[in-house]
Symmetry: C2
DNA sequence: CTTGTCGAATTGTTCAACGATTCTTATGTT
DNA sequence: AACATAAGAATCGTTGAACAATTCGACAAG
C-alpha cells in the first residue's frame, strides 16, 4: 500500500476504509474465524500499513459489530451467542415483514433476479452462491421500503448472520431449502396478496431461526465435549 | 487528558470513546452547529489529545451519522435534508408501530415514567426537559421489543433527529403538544387496545413529520433569502 | 495447589514529520 | 473590471518511532 505515494492518487476513499473492506471480506470468508484475535503488528506488516491506520480500520469494523474491542487485549472476530441469533431474527421479522406489508406498487425486479440467481446456483450445486443469492433476496425485500437507513441496517444484520453461518459444518446446505420459498414469496407479492405474503415470511423466518438455533446448540454442546 | 498517565487507570473505556462522548454531547447541545467544520488541531489542542486519538473519535461519530467525513477536507457536523427527515420517520413508523403492536405483556413502567417526567417539565415550562422526556418516551416504546439492536438503532435515530430540531427556532415548543398524546397512547397500551394504539401512533408520527418538514422548508427558504 | 513476582509481548497514546489535497490570495492577461 | 492561473498557506492522510500501561505466561516460594 505504498504505491499511492508515488503516483497521483487513484483512491477515492481513505486507506483505512480500504483496509476495512479487505478485513470485512476476510471475515465473511472465514479467513479469520470467530473468536480469533487480530494482531495489529501481523496484519499491519502484511498489508504494509501503519498501526494507526489499521486501528482506524478496526474501529470501523467494531462499529459494524464484526469485531469486538477489548481494552488492552486487542480486537477479536465477533462470536455470536444464541441470544444474538434470537435478537437478529426479531429485528428481521420487524423489518422484513413491514417491507412486505407495505410493498404495494414496489419494484420486484431485484427480488426476482435474486430468486433466479439462487435457483441457477442450486441447480449447479454452487452452494456458496446459493447463500449469497439468498442474502441478496432478503436485502432486496428490505429495499422495497426505499429507505437508505433500513438498507444499511439490513446489510449489517446480514453481515452478522454470516458470522453465525460459519458455526455450522455445512453452511451452503442450510440455504438450499429456502430457494423454493423465495420464489413462492415473490409470487405472492407480485399478485398483491400481501397479508398472505407477510404471514408466509413470518413462518419462513421462524423456521430459519429454529434451524440456526439447533445447529448452534449442537455445535456449542460439541465444543463443550458432549459424549 | 494527561493526568491518566500518572495514577492507575480508573478508566474502563479508551480515551477515543471518552472524547467521542464529549463531542456527542456538544453536538446534541448545538455547541457545534450543523455544517460546522471540526478542526483536528483546534479540538485536539483544547482537549489535550493527539490527532490520532481524535481521529478515532471522529470515525466513531461518523459511523453514528453525526459527522460526515470528506476526504482531505475534514469532518463536518451533519446537515440533514428534508429527505433525511422523511427517511427517519419512515424507519420510526416501522419500528415504533411494531413495538406497539407486539407490546402485549410488556413492562410499561419506563414509558409511564417518561410521560410523567414530560408532564412535570411542561408544567414548569422547562422546554428542554420536555424534549428529552419526549425522546425518552419513544426510546421506551422501542424498548418493549426487548431487542438490544433495535434499542441502539433507535438511539441513533433520535440523535439524528436532535440535529433536525436545531434547525427550528424554538425546539422546545415543538415537543409540548405531544406530551398529552404520549399519555393517551400509554393509556391505550395499558388497556391492551393495541390496534387502536398502533393507528394512533401512526398518525402521531405523521403529524410530527409534517410539522418538522414545514419548519424545515421555511428555514431553508429563509436561508436562501426569501423576502 | 495456590500465590506472588518477573519479564516478554501487545496494546494505548503521543509526537514529529512529510506527501497530498484543498483553499486562499496574489498576479497577470484580455 | 473580469477572469483564468499560479504561487503559497493551511489542513488532512499516513507513517514510523517512542514510551507508558496492561496482559499473559513462566517460574519460584509458600
Amino acid at each position: 500500500m505504498r504505491e499511492q505515494t508515488t503516483g497521483p492518487h487513484l483512491l477515492r476513499t481513505s486507506t483505512a476504509e480500504l483496509v476495512a473492506g479487505v478485513l470485512r471480506d476476510r471475515i465473511a470468508q472465514a479467513v479469520y474465524e470467530p473468536g480469533e484475535r487480530l494482531s495489529e503488528e501481523a496484519i499491519g506488516a502484511e498489508l504494509e500499513i501503519s498501526r494507526n491506520t489499521l486501528r482506524e480500520a478496526f474501529r470501523l469494523l467494531g462499529h459494524e459489530r464484526l469485531l469486538v474491542h477489548k481494552l488492552n487485549r486487542g480486537v477479536f472476530v465477533r462470536v455470536l451467542s444464541a441470544s444474538d441469533v434470537k435478537d437478529l431474527y426479531l429485528v428481521r421479522r420487524v423489518i422484513e415483514c413491514a417491507a412486505v406489508r407495505n410493498s404495494a406498487g414496489g419494484d420486484m425486479a431485484a427480488c426476482r433476479e435474486a430468486v433466479e440467481d439462487g435457483e441457477r446456483a442450486a441447480a449447479d450445486d454452487r452452494w456458496r452462491d446459493v447463500g449469497t443469492a439468498n442474502l441478496r433476496f432478503h436485502q432486496a425485500l428490505v429495499a422495497l421500503h426505499g429507505s437508505s437507513r433500513l438498507d444499511e441496517l439490513m446489510g449489517q444484520l446480514l453481515a452478522e448472520l454470516r458470522l453465525v453461518f460459519h458455526v455450522m459444518e455445512n453452511p451452503g446446505a442450510f440455504h438450499a431449502p429456502f430457494v423454493a420459498r423465495n420464489r413462492l414469496l415473490t409470487g405472492l407479492l407480485e399478485e398483491g396478496r400481501l397479508a398472505e405474503a407477510e404471514q408466509y415470511l413470518s413462518k419462513y423466518l421462524d423456521d430459519a431461526e429454529a434451524l440456526l438455533q439447533a445447529a448452534f446448540d449442537s455445535s456449542s454442546s460439541a465444543r463443550l465435549g458432549g459424549a
